[in-house]
């Protein structure tokens, strides 16, 4: 048995060694251009933007769905759009944003519907990359389950770091780049682009009750800090909305049942297909302005 075990370990050791070493290499030039690197700037906005502040927390629906300048002009507050990618997981978004919240801040939390229908603390490639490519210190924000869940993504990241295309002929993505964000953190590089072809998508999976429990805990933390929390709904393509109507209504019902201050209704944020950009959650410029206007109206009602 000893020989067998030794040989198996001997076979696997180079594989694990390679993965660990490659993971610890600095981010590749291509990776540094990715939208995940916008988190550095967004953290800095959270740290240094002066009060009165309004902080938006959510997935790419927010980054592709807000015109913060309009918010600033209408509400006379300094907006910070922290959104990057839904796959970073809601748990990470909440844990990352809470430490920057100050007294008097207004926090608008807009989880995507899919956040309620998947593992709350699942792993993802984006989550792994934001730790190992962007900021290793954020590993402290991950739960043990998240740490376990990001392991399967490590080999891919390690192999990616050896690909020549990561170092040569790097062309900046027109949409998904660190340079796609404006000074408030909104993705704006696609505002002049045409709608892309994409398929509608229904929200799938079983409702996860843990998600709301964690939002409740987040709300308590915010209250302790003397800030205000509002929750709202993502701007979601109308066709996808209709396909997911039961799942969406469940989320809305749970918000109201738990006494959150809810901005608008899910139905109100159902976005016409012509206002979408390249996924059921990403809005084009018309969609961005339309959705921002709705949000401003809803915020005005509660901020008076």
């Amino acid at each position: 048995m000893n020989i067998f075990v030794r040989k198996v370990i001997g076979f696997l050791l180079p594989v694990f060694g390679f993965i660990v070493l490659a993971i610890l290499l600095p981010a590749t030039p291509r990776a540094t251009k990715s939208l995940l690197f916008s988190s550095i700037k967004k953290d800095s906005l959270l740290k240094y933007t002066k009060s009165p502040r309004i902080i938006f927390v959510g997935g790419s629906n927010l980054s592709f769905g807000l015109n913060s300048q309009l918010i600033k002009d209408s509400l006379r507050k300094n907006p910070i759009n922290t959104a990057i990618h839904a796959s970073l997981t809601l748990k990470f978004m909440l844990d990352n944003s809470i430490k920057f919240v100050k007294k008097g801040d207004v926090v608008v939390l807009v989880p995507e519907y899919s956040h309620f229908y998947s593992d709350y603390d699942r792993g993802s490639e984006e989550l792994l990359r934001i730790i190992f490519d962007v900021n290793l210190s954020k590993i402290s924000l991950l739960s043990s389950k998240q740490l376990f869940n990001i392991i399967p993504y490590m080999p891919k990241l390690a192999i990616t770091k050896l690909k020549p295309s990561e170092y040569l002929n790097i062309i900046d993505s027109k949409v998904y780049s660190v340079n796609s964000f404006n000074d408030y953190g909104d993705t704006f590089s696609h505002w002049g682009m045409k709608r892309e072809n994409f398929k509608s998508k229904a929200v799938k999976g079983e409702y996860n009750t843990v998600v709301l429990e964690n939002i409740k805990a987040y709300a308590l933390e915010i209250e302790k800090k003397g800030a205000q929390l509002f929750v709202s709904f993502p701007g979601y393509q109308d066709v996808s909305f209709m396909k997911s109507i039961n799942s969406i209504h469940r989320v809305e019902m749970e918000y109201r049942k738990n006494d959150f201050i809810v901005l608008g209704t899910a139905e109100r944020y159902k976005i016409p297909d012509a206002m979408m950009f390249n996924t059921p959650y990403h809005l084009n410029k018309d969609g961005v302005d339309y959705r921002t206007q709705l949000l401003i109206e809803d915020l005005k009602k509660v901020l008076q």
Binding site: I151, P152, K156
Partner: protein
């Protein structure tokens, strides 16, 4: 706990280590360890169904003893039918109740009687079809006096619950597995290495072939209206390789894992897509189920005795039952029916025992005739898989009619063309390796003798890296876990 999960990658070495280093002194300890780890493995799916598994095990264990001890026929029959009835009753409730109720309601509504059926909202216990069939074969074999009743409860429980085969087979026989459980297992280095290789190949089939094909098959089947006939055919091909990669990959991992514990399971797949006719396909696809139906249904029904009519009838029965075994949906029944139709010519003309050996044995290239036969058989199975995959018969028929339209010659609607192309390249590479290794137990089993050590290691490391690369998509369920 999926075979392709990180949890299993932690679980397996722990059980392996305890088995060979702590429990190896006594066979009893090894079997207790196997049983406890199997129950733990099963509880990771849903601990509530563990009670059902234990109950089913107890039922068959005691029924077996009672049948064997019965002095008269009436008592013997009572225990036999009690066990059969309860086993099939569980299947009927958990798997088929809603199907029967809905089908009856639909039939009545067509006759003008509208009823509001009472359906059950229950989850199908994972592996129920597999462990129920283990129990059934055991009880039937005792009743027919082919085997003796097992008195050791631990040994019998390991036979039913051994974790590599618990959730999706192979469907074992007491005559094959129980003696291995009762015999001292010896640490055989060569066998264990062989087991690891089979696990590696199974993971490749599942993670690289099946899961990649699944992405495109799911997209095309779920939105079939958006695609041309050519794209739909491509979708059907993707599903054809998905289900093969998925189930034979699972079986390879199961066989390889069992071998790590010194246990040989029944072979479940033998390169079915290289079959020259449907009869050969069924000797190579899900072998443990086909042989189960042959031994416990086809032969008791009279088998091939009694003339053509009886052979035809019995063949249709086993294919329809086999289809129904897969799931409570008419699509599976039609899938079985189609295969029965396909196999009919060879049943009628008595050619079903043709092509018993491996195609183009000892040669690299098959003859033109063999190639045509393989292509025809393969395409017939592709058409049948459409019914297997479709959500209902209407969808399957419209899918097929669109394939056989003018748009068959156009590929349109595909969004991720690059990904599709990569997937096709992998399928070709996979089938090429399968072709080279088709005379072995599994495709890469023969690398020891035919390849230089350095080439072999390049191959193994390449497989490991490709598997690790594709495993980043997350763990995907095995299709046969739902049966």
């Amino acid at each position: 706990m999926l075979f392709n999960s990180l949890s299993f990658a932690v679980f397996l070495p722990i059980v392996f280590f305890l088995y060979w280093s702590v429990a190896h002194k006594e066979l009893k300890y090894q079997n207790i360890l196997l049983l406890l780890s199997s129950y733990f493995f099963y509880a990771c799916w849903d601990w509530r169904f563990l009670f059902l598994l234990i109950f089913s095990t107890l039922l068959d264990y005691f029924s077996g003893i009672k049948i064997a001890e019965s002095k008269n026929n009436t008592t013997k029959k009572f225990w036999f039918w009690l066990s059969i009835g309860i086993n099939l009753g569980f299947l009927a409730v958990f798997k088929y109740y809603n199907f029967f109720i809905d089908s009856t309601a639909l039939a009545l509504s067509k006759l003008g009687f509208v009823i509001n059926p009472w359906t059950l909202n229950v989850i199908l216990p994972v592996g129920i079809s597999f462990y129920t069939f283990h129990g059934l074969s055991y009880v039937i074999d005792i009743y027919k006096e082919r085997i003796k009743a097992e008195k050791n409860f631990i040994d019998y429980s390991v036979f039913v619950s051994f974790f590599p085969l618990l959730v999706a087979g192979p469907i074992e026989r007491a005559t094959h597995l129980l003696p291995q459980i009762q015999r001292k297992r010896i640490f055989d280095y060569a066998k264990l290495v062989n087991g690891l290789k089979q696990i590696l190949w199974g993971l490749f089939k599942k993670i690289v072939i099946a899961d990649q094909c699944a992405k495109y098959a799911n997209e095309i089947f779920n939105n079939s209206g958006d695609y041309s006939g050519g794209s739909l055919f491509l979708g059907a091909l993707f599903f054809t390789f998905q289900i093969y990669g998925d189930f034979s990959g699972y079986s390879d991992i199961a066989l390889g894992t069992a071998r790590l514990f010194g246990i040989e399971l029944l072979k479940n797949f033998s390169f079915p897509y290289f079959s020259r006719n449907i009869a050969e396909f069924w000797r190579r696809w899900h072998i443990s189920l086909s042989s189960w139906f042959r031994d416990y249904l086809y032969i008791p029904l009279g088998g091939s005795k009694g003339g053509i009519w009886s052979k035809v009838r019995n063949t249709f029965i086993i294919f329809l039952v086999s289809g129904f075994w897969h799931g409570a949906n008419w699509t599976f029944i039609v899938w079985g029916f189609l295969h029965a139709l396909y196999i009919m010519p060879s049943i009628i003309f008595n050619t079903n025992r043709k092509s018993l050996d491996t195609v183009a044995k000892g040669k690299l290239i098959p003859s033109f005739k063999e190639l045509l036969e393989m292509l025809l058989t393969f395409n017939l199975t592709v058409i049948a898989w459409i019914f297997f995959r479709a959500k209902d018969i209407e969808s399957a028929l419209s899918y097929i009619s669109k394939i056989f339209s003018k748009s068959f010659f156009t590929i349109s609607g595909l969004v991720d063309k690059g990904g599709v192309l990569i997937c096709i390249v992998f399928i070709f590479a996979f089938m090429f390796i399968e072709w080279l290794g088709r005379e072995k137990e599994f495709a890469i089993a023969g690398l020891d003798t035919s390849w230089k050590k350095s080439y072999r290691y390049v191959m193994y490391y390449s497989l490991v890296l490709i598997i690790l690369w594709f495993s980043a998509g997350g763990e995907q369920q095995f299709i046969y876990f739902q049966f």
